[in-house]
């Protein structure tokens, strides 16, 4: 029983870490692309800085969405999943 609970807790922590680590790759690349293109655009047309910046921040926030999803999953895995799974295990035994 104790080993089973230990495995559940460890796997939840491991899963949260992997989820966050892999989930952060995509938004990181996407936001980097967006910012680099915005920098290029400002370099070409410095007078359009305000418009480009506001559009870029908007786009960055939307590109962040998948990262936020993985964050929500990670938070669920750390705070909600262990007690749920342990309760399930106890009810099964």
């Amino acid at each position: 029983m104790e080993i089973a609970v230990g495995i559940i807790l460890g796997c939840c922590a491991l899963g949260a870490g992997i989820c966050m680590g892999i989930g952060a790759i995509g938004p990181g690349i996407g936001e980097g692309n967006a910012v680099s293109k915005a920098c290029e655009a400002i370099g070409r047309q410095p007078e359009s800085k305000g418009d480009v910046t506001s559009t870029m921040i908007m786009g960055c926030a939307i590109a962040e969405t998948t990262g936020i999803y993985s964050l929500v999953i990670a938070i669920l895995l750390i705070f909600v999943a262990p007690s749920t799974f342990v309760g399930l295990l106890k009810s099964l035994l």
């Binding site: 921040i57 926030a61 939307i62 962040e64 969405t65 936020i68 999803y69 964050l71 929500v72």
Partner: protein, 297 residues
């Protein structure tokens, strides 16, 4: 004249109290009801009481109470800003009120087009309640936006509005929209329809809660660090976490102030774009002309 001036000032003070008292009341409630703990913990909204209901007990949480008091506070702010409107010799607060209204009208007109020009108050209230809810952390209160139920409620409201404006093009056209490009895609299209409010709710909730979690983790880490570095100081000096002073405030500027206002703007922006994108302009025009023709005959 003198008496009128005094009456004006009295009402002003009343509105200001309406703005400030809810926040003070919430701080008092939090101090009185939160249990005394020394450890740092991450927890959801505290449950104040339960109302017995036939199917399931209605749970009144901190998030609900905080959001209602924020609404009262915003109403007080609006009443204060619009008190004593004049056409000449305008007060300073009227400048601010006019500036807000002009900005929101311009935003709505730029993003939604002519047909939705009366959407200004709705968008302004979304921005206001979202920003003020997130900024409540600055008073040490639980921000209602870090509870998914509150944000999901707003997202469901937006979803209903999207569906309403989609139905303006006719029920048949609405149903036909699901079978594009081919009818096999219908389940995926239904999923896509539901994904809009879900993603809006998760985006707002996740951004606010990530700030809370990271701030708490940093504060806990700083406590351990200062115990390690400054633990050799004699007596009670060694127990005071000096490193906790100032550093969390810098994080708070980004996570609470910048991110909170940013998310309010993004939520409003996505609301506008989704609603404007859902409205079938051509179909609506066709139907209206048909109706006009019928009425003439």
């Amino acid at each position: 004249m003198e008496q009128q001036n005094r009456k004006f000032k009295m009402i002003d003070v009343l509105y200001l109290l309406m703005m400030i008292l809810p926040i003070v009341f919430l701080i008092g409630l939090k101090i009185l009801t939160s249990p005394a703990t020394t450890g740092i913990s991450i927890s959801g909204a505290r449950i104040y009481f339960k109302l017995p209901m036939p199917i399931q007990d209605l749970v009144i949480t901190e998030a609900q109470i905080n959001s209602w008091f924020v609404m009262i506070s915003i109403v007080g702010l609006c009443l204060y800003l619009t008190h004593g409107l004049k056409t000449q010799n305008i007060l300073r607060r009227q400048h601010l009120a006019e500036w807000i209204v002009e900005k929101v009208e311009k935003l709505v007109n730029d993003n939604m087009g002519e047909y939705f020009s009366d959407f200004g108050p709705f968008i302004a209230s979304i921005i206001g309640i979202s920003a003020f809810s997130s900024l409540m952390t600055l008073c040490g209160l639980f921000p209602p936006t870090s509870d998914i139920n509150v944000v999901a409620g707003w997202a469901i409201l937006v979803f209903l509005l999207i569906t309403y404006y989609k139905l303006k093009g006719g029920v048949l056209n609405y149903l036909k929209g699901f079978t594009e490009p081919i009818f096999v895609m219908a389940p995926l299209n239904v999923l896509g329809e539901i994904a809009t409010p879900v993603s809006m709710a998760f985006r707002h909730y996740g951004n606010v809660i990530s700030g809370t979690v990271i701030s708490v983790l940093v504060v806990a880490a700083l406590q351990g660090l200062s115990a390690m570095v400054l633990g050799w100081l004699p007596g009670f000096l060694g127990e005071i976490p000096f490193l906790q002073v100032g550093v969390p405030a810098i994080l708070s500027v980004y996570f609470d102030v910048f991110s909170g206002c940013m998310q309010a703007y993004i939520f409003a922006m996505l609301t506008m774009l989704n609603i404007a994108g859902a409205f079938p302009q051509e179909e609506y025009e066709k139907r209206r002309q048909k109706k006009l023709l019928k009425a003439k005959i």
